[in-house]
């Protein structure tokens, strides 16, 4: 009965319940609602399924530990996406540092294979799974600052205002970054769309 009642509540009501009464069921419902969208967002941003599962778990742990830092005037989704985005960015920074320290120079990470016509025939490119892989690879080549907003806008479907709130940027900057990100992506995927 309590669960049914809780399921009917909005995100903001659930977190209020969790904050006020420490109702673990509210927390579990929020986890259920956001685990998949966050997983999708973090995977598109980081590109590694195992790492992204860890990041989303850490996001949920942070949410559990810092529930009182959420302020009711904000949307819960923007708050939780901000946490996930920050953890994902930290992961990228860690990777970059590790690459510098290990002095490895893996050219595979820099080269995009999408322009290799002999490798991907037009028929193959038409296949959605291959196309999806190509887009994901291209997306990972886009600068992280542009990538984040493009994912939030075009994959997760957030409004410019919400993205501005999540990223603590002005709406104008968000729009500009989204356009730059799309332009980079189109340049990288030029061959796919030409065919």
């Amino acid at each position: 009965m309590l669960d049914k009642k809780l399921f009917a509540l909005s995100d903001e009501e659930l977190i209020k319940e969790f904050q006020d009464n420490n109702t673990i069921e509210s927390y579990e419902i929020l986890v259920k609602r956001y685990k998949d969208p966050l997983m999708n967002f973090v995977y598109r941003f980081v590109g590694n399924r195992d790492v992204c599962a860890d990041i989303v778990q850490d996001t949920m742990i942070k949410f559990y530990l810092n529930k009182d830092s959420y302020k009711s005037f904000a949307k819960f989704s923007t708050w939780i996406y901000t946490i996930a985005g920050n953890l994902a960015k930290n992961e990228l920074k860690r990777r970059k540092r590790r690459t510098i320290l290990s002095l490895s120079n893996n050219d595979d990470d820099r080269t995009i294979q999408v322009e290799d016509k002999s490798f991907f025939t037009p028929e193959a490119v038409a296949d959605s799974s291959i196309k999806g892989d190509l887009i994901q690879k291209a997306l990972l080549k886009v600068k992280p600052v542009y990538r984040e907003v493009v994912i939030l806008r075009d994959i997760q479907g957030f409004s410019y205002e919400e993205i501005a709130e999540m990223t603590e940027l002005s709406i104008g900057t968000v729009k500009s970054r989204i356009n730059r990100g799309r332009a980079q992506l189109q340049k990288l995927l030029n061959n796919v769309y030409r065919d």
């Binding site: 998949d36 966050l38 995977y43 598109r44 860890d54 930290n90 479907g157 799309r182 769309y193």
Partner: protein, 229 residues
């Protein structure tokens, strides 16, 4: 109006990209995601492993450099120790021998000895002619005698040679003139003066062995007694 807004945001320009991004397959959380999460919360395992494993510290950054530097210092120290020229007492030559070899460079000890004997004043060299050895000017010719001591150390002693020359032709010296045949003994003795050379026996530089001397005397006395009988 809506179209105009889309154009301002540049969404028309990238409609293919936007469409492709929207059609990307959705990634879902693993099945055990919630179970793992609630287990962590129940066990109060809130530590973020990745933060711990990749935590950046100045010491962590400098550690490889410190190890390399320390290794380099140790290696240099060992090499430096090896390079120290510690003389091996078993390989070093006796001091005197070294001196002799240095002086004569490639000459052998025997050659050196001859060379030292052959030191003759320049004035003597000019007058040197195929004349009789006996009539040679009485220039004191000095040489050296190599003495091997009991402790195997080699030393040299000044020696006054019996002849003036460093080398002599014995035949020419003895057969100078028939009239001088009576002087042959003196000539052979190497003295320019008319003084008969006296042979006073062989001398050894080793200390006299009293026991050996006594036993030799006893042995010679017993032989004499035996002959008398």
């Amino acid at each position: 109006m809506e179209k105009k807004v889309q154009n301002i945001n540049g969404e028309d320009q990238y409609k293919d990209i936007i469409k492709s991004l929207k059609e990307l397959p959705r990634v879902k959380a693993p099945d055990n995601f919630e179970l793992n999460l609630m287990t962590r919360i129940h066990n109060k395992n809130f530590e973020i492993e990745r933060d711990k494993s990749y935590h950046f510290t100045v010491w962590g950054f400098l550690k490889p450099a410190a190890v390399v530097s320390l290794t380099a210092v140790i290696v240099l120290f060992v090499i430096d120790l090896n390079s120290l020229d510690v003389p091996n007492p078993l390989l070093t030559e006796p001091e005197l021998r070294k001196e002799v070899l240095n002086d004569a460079e490639n000459m052998t000890l025997q050659k050196k000895f001859i060379a030292e004997e052959s030191v003759v004043p320049e004035t003597k060299k000019k007058d040197e002619a195929p004349r009789a050895m006996a009539s040679a000017p009485a220039v004191k010719n000095q040489g050296y005698k190599v003495v091997i001591n009991e402790n195997d150390a080699i030393s040299k002693e000044m020696l006054e040679l019996p002849v003036d020359e460093k080398s002599i032709d014995v035949d020419s010296r003895l057969n100078v003139t028939p009239n001088q045949s009576s002087n042959r003994a003196f000539l052979a003795g190497g003295t320019g003066e008319r003084r008969k050379p006296v042979f006073d026996g062989f001398h050894t530089r080793s200390l006299e062995n009293k026991w050996l001397r006594d036993s030799s005397a006893k042995y010679s006395d017993s032989l004499k007694n035996l002959e008398e009988k």
